[in-house]
Symmetry: C2
Subunit: 345 residues, 2 copies
Amino acid sequence: MNDSFLRACRREPADRIPVWFMRQAGRCLPEYRAVRAEHEMFDVMHSAELTALVTQQPVKRFGVDAAVIFSDIVAPLQAAGVDVKLVAEVGPVFANPIRTSADVAALPRLADPSSSMAGLLGGIAQVAEADEVPVIGFCGGPFTLASYLVEGGPSRDYAKTKALMHGSPDVWDALMDVLADITTTSLLAQIDAGASAVQIFDSWVGALDPDTYRRYALPATASVLQAVASRGVPRIVFGVSTGELLTLFAEAGADVVGVDWRVPLDLARARLGPNVAVQGNLDPAICLAGWPAVEAGARRVLDAAGSAPGHVFNLGWGVLPSTDPEVLTQLVDWVHRQPPPTDAP
Amino acid sequence: MNDSFLRACRREPADRIPVWFMRQAGRCLPEYRAVRAEHEMFDVMHSAELTALVTQQPVKRFGVDAAVIFSDIVAPLQAAGVDVKLVAEVGPVFANPIRTSADVAALPRLADPSSSMAGLLGGIAQVAEADEVPVIGFCGGPFTLASYLVEGGPSRDYAKTKALMHGSPDVWDALMDVLADITTTSLLAQIDAGASAVQIFDSWVGALDPDTYRRYALPATASVLQAVASRGVPRIVFGVSTGELLTLFAEAGADVVGVDWRVPLDLARARLGPNVAVQGNLDPAICLAGWPAVEAGARRVLDAAGSAPGHVFNLGWGVLPSTDPEVLTQLVDWVHRQPPPTDAP
């Protein structure tokens, strides 16, 4: 198996700089759209065969060094029995927003993932058995999931979420406990099914200042990371607009910190120190600007990443749907042709 | 006139910590909603009397130390003749998005602000004549205005904007030249009408990484700041998610750097050094969480701001519409009762 991704996660030298893309499965791929023309999102997620198929499409097309499983960050909530719909152009919409301690107490747990997440876990097993590249399992971060549950869906300002957090910390803490539990169950099941690494997408946690993160989001995140530590797989944490939270991700237990495009990797590494790997961070919008701009941007990323091992090349956020797949193929090939870092970390 | 705001902008000791709130005029105030029940947004903006009335409402109610003029960041574009509508729950929507050099060449300039911006300028003059607190004039930042024009309205990912910027830098640079020109004309007219300070709301420029900001946004911003420098009024620059851009705002010429709630002010000051004042940065969502949370948050802001002069207390972004005005009144009073910084800067 191509182990360049896992080696970089462990800050070990590798024979090339590994690449994968957040949201590489789906979105911009015509072969994915062909699948989706016949199957709803949740139908794909509930089928091991379709999950494996869609997960492997970008590996085949782009030549990336890891296969992130095709799923959604709210999948464990749906599997637990929470009433959620994925609405096109909107995102996840929850029928019953969580605002009180009674709401939290009534939340279901993820009791039997082998049954309720059979599609996801079976998909992981199939891709892992192919033994070409490592499979990355994932889940939403506790704050991000909580924000969806409290707001009832996506939000611009997280006003209700933060009002609950700061105004009713007991309710908030109870909600985070439930979400840490669901998330842990999901990640352990994914690892046991064959995931060689896991990523917590705490996509929207960058809405918090560091003090607030430390008090209201770090404990649940650390609990999840700690609970999966014994499995020995690299644990990645990522969210957008998290420049001031990067060190807290490491403090929570991340082995690899995902960095959005706003923070140059030399700055990120200076903040994080040598004991954490970094992942990122080309602005996905640059991929719409033609190859010369893409190459120049990728060059800046590698220059900033420096010469120590422990860099996984990625975009700074998910692939944009209007991206030309050919550009991503060219980008992977270009990164693979660059000399890998060889310095001692 | 109460000069505590201007003294803090100039990093001089003052007898109290000055406070104002972004979006203090409008939004959460019932007396503003009463005005808007009878007048459309642009009707208020086109009337000097209504502009002055709405601008002074929060000064009277909250006791803030500065009066930010009631307007919209796209007002200069509308005054120049660009076809823009302010759509409730959406934002500014432009009939003719700008994508080509021909589009840019066809953009109008702000030829006669004394006529086309008579409401805004008359409103500034009326509030300035009252001589109670300084008037803050403002405009949108060049990047932010460009993003609205290119996308045709608000955007999540600025994909078209960034594709134009990175893919057609000549078109982008020409667009930024036009916007710097319009913005400069607007700010000079506002200062000449009586504004004692100006703020560039480059609200969405935090979507750029530092290298990209330096190449594609800083030059136009610096040009605007330089063009108004001779008037001698403090120049504030602000945008959300701009932790990695703060030093570039100062490099562009800002006298005061607005900091969103993500970056603690001690970190912001460490990055900026002693020759720039800072403004901010309580998370506006905390104002929805009850007074104890507000006081604790405000205390953290002041502790981080430290003991050197040069801090203007503000929220880290605009007042949320669901904020209870009484909380803001209480917050201003609380800040005013704290000992002001007295150390040499």
